[in-house]
Amino acid sequence: MMDILFFKIALALYLLSTAGYILSLLVRRVQVAKISTWILFSAFLVQGISMVFRYVRMGHTPVIVMHDSLSFFVWAMTGTYLAFQLKTKTRVLGAFVSPVAFFIMMVASVGLGGDVALPEMLKGWLVPFHAVLSIAGEALFALACCAGAMYLIQDGFLKHRRLTAFSRLLPPLGDLDRISHVSLLWGFPLLTLGAIAGALWARTVWGSHWSWDPKQIWTLMAWLFYALVLHQRLAIGWSGRKAALLSIAALFLLLAALIGVNVFFTSAHRFFV
């Protein structure tokens, strides 16, 4: 079971990079953050290998079970962050991304090893297509939220003219805003396509695209909210503080749809008990 071994290694590497980033904040050295970025990169690679092994062993794209979708979420978010990292000097943003990645990996590791047979209805190409696109979109939104949170902190420092060693370490506002912007810009069509794929699939098994399921309703609300955020950004030119606040609020709404609904409501979208 190579996939489990590699998953565990990746988990350890995420822990290591998180520790490294926290250390870089404590000693206020970008150098430490640089090393942590490389550890994060290796975690990303190892996790990728684990997913390939899992694909081979399970015989389907590993994004459907909770464990797999969380793992894929982390992988997509980390990969996107690392890509941004190449373009901008935002190493310290990793100090937000890496702990989130590690935490979700911990949650994902709960389902480790307990392989569940895939119900007949979830077989076919539409389901992984729906899951991959939606999760990738959500991962980008999570990144937008991280960048937004860091933006608010840095904005607070600069607004109150407190340029400390800590604020020096944080990335420039312009870069953070751009990451937020680009993440939203790409995340939205991904989530939209994912939802469409989901609706098409729903028609084949439930006989209708839309069935007033709590999960569908919440996701639609989050989708509308993101549409609003994007509209404010593109058409009205909202950027900076307000946009950062919105992208954080939007993620909470989306999280409510993803996690809250599964816990508090009975949803047709629950396939495993």
Binding site: L158, R161, P171, P172, L173, G174, I236, G237, S239, G240
Partner: protein, 424 residues
């Protein structure tokens, strides 16, 4: 060690005396040939900047050398002895080494951490080499100093963060915009301060400069200077929306930029971030501007406060730098101590014996078949050959020790036989 350092800097000598010395240096290009005539000096480095004049030398007789160098500096400055004498400091051996390391690392500079001094030390060393005034000790010492300076620069934050108001403005602009490429700066008022800040911004990539001034001619003159655009005061409102960075430095008694103007400009530029720097007293920009979202306003006091903060930060880092220097002074002393004859002879013997043992262990098969006695004979033969070979260099070294030239012989032997690398 026989190393001395004599000189004065901005802490010990007032500017009138320092300038007297540096002027006289410019006249006769380099005083090195003059200094080298002093008999007890073996190697000499002469360092002169606007904040310091120093002579570093390896000498045979410390007392004599110091007296002659003092005299030389008095004659150079053409100043009364008692006045100049009070400004001079003298360091010996380890203390001289430490002082050089501190100077090269910019710990002894007027603005701690400023990078120019290292270049000046390098220039001084180049001159010293060109005049044939450097030898084994100073070569090693100066290269060591360059290495220390690099370590201090990379391992401590002593050179981080702006320590002047205009650099602080650039640093802040970078924290806000990230990259300054393609950003536009609007200068309101064409004074000296705004020109200085604008120059720093342009050096860091700001693309376009707009100059607005009450007298249009001044605006045109300064705008030409930066290949920028001049503007009259009446168009300030429209100009504001183009500007990412705004620097106010007029002598106007009231606010030139009001909150309403900024609110309108911000709407027109679709809320893109704006950075206002108010270096005018009385202030040009209404402080209420700072309350608007996506707008950052810093006045002269805020910038000064940042600078003070940065200086304090550097002071803290300086302590780390001092620790590095302590360590490196010890390293240099350790190297210097190897230049004694006895340890070198021992190291040379050890090395040769080591080679012999190693070769015997790897001896061909036929030797292993020999009787113990025969093998002993061979070993004795080999070691007597080696002793004969080593005999002359070793006695030579012992004889040279009586004279001053020994150090360079020792250094040569250590290098040729790679005695120092062996230890690593």
């Amino acid at each position: 060690m026989n190393i001395i350092l004599i000189g004065m800097n901005h802490k010990t000598a007032p500017v009138e005396i320092r300038e007297q010395l540096s002027i006289s240096c410019e006249e006769n290009s380099s005083p090195l040939p003059e200094i080298m005539k002093i008999g007890s000096l073996k190697e000499v480095l002469y360092l002169s900047t606007c904040n310091r004049v120093e002579v570093l030398a390896r000498v045979t007789d410390e007392g004599e050398a110091i007296d002659s160098l003092r005299e030389f500096i008095f004659s150079l400055g053409n100043l009364p002895e008692e006045e100049l004498g009070k400004c001079l400091y003298v360091y010996r051996d380890e203390e001289a080494v430490r002082h050089l390391f501190r100077v090269a690392s910019s710990l002894d500079s007027m603005i701690m951490g400023e990078p120019q001094i290292l270049g000046q030390v390098k220039d001084a060393y180049r001159q010293c080499v060109e005049h044939g005034a450097s030898g084994i000790i100073l070569n090693k010492l100066l290269h060591h100093a360059f290495r220390v300076a690099k370590r201090v620069r990379t391992e401590t934050g002593i050179a981080n963060n702006a320590v002047s108001v205009s650099f602080a403005a650039v640093e802040l602009a970078k924290k806000i915009f990230g990259n300054l490429q393609g950003k536009t700066t609007l200068l309101i008022g064409a004074g000296e301060m705004s020109e200085l800040a604008a120059r720093h911004l342009v050096n860091h990539g700001v693309g376009r400069i707009i100059v607005a001034n009450r007298t249009y001619e001044r605006a045109v003159a300064l705008a030409n200077h930066f290949h920028g655009v001049p503007s009259g005061f009446e168009h300030l409102g429209e100009r504001l929306q183009e500007a990412d960075i705004v620097i106010g430095s007029t002598g106007a008694p009231g606010y030139v930029i009001t909150k309403e103007m900024v609110a309108v400009a911000l709407r027109r530029r679709r809320n893109r971030l704006m950075f206002f720097i108010d270096i005018a007293v009385p202030r040009d920009i209404d402080p209420a501007v700072g309350g608007i979202d996506n707008v950052y306003l810093y006045n002269i006091d805020d910038l000064q406060q940042t600078v003070d903060e940065n200086i304090r930060e550097r002071m803290k880092e300086a302590q780390k730098a001092e620790d590095i220097i302590d360590e490196e002074v010890l390293n240099f002393s350790a190297w210097h101590n190897t230049l004694e004859a006895v340890p070198t002879i021992r190291a040379l013997r050890d090395k040769v014996e080591g080679i012999m043992k190693g070769e015997l262990e790897r001896a061909p098969a036929w030797m292993k078949n020999l009787a113990d006695e025969e093998r002993k004979e061979i070993e004795i033969l080999i070691s007597s050959v080696l002793n004969k070979v080593l005999h002359d260099p070793i006695t030579g070294l012992k004889e040279e020790t009586q004279e001053d030239g020994a150090k360079s012989y020792i250094a040569a032997i250590r290098r040729l036989f790679k005695l120092d690398e062996e230890k690593k």
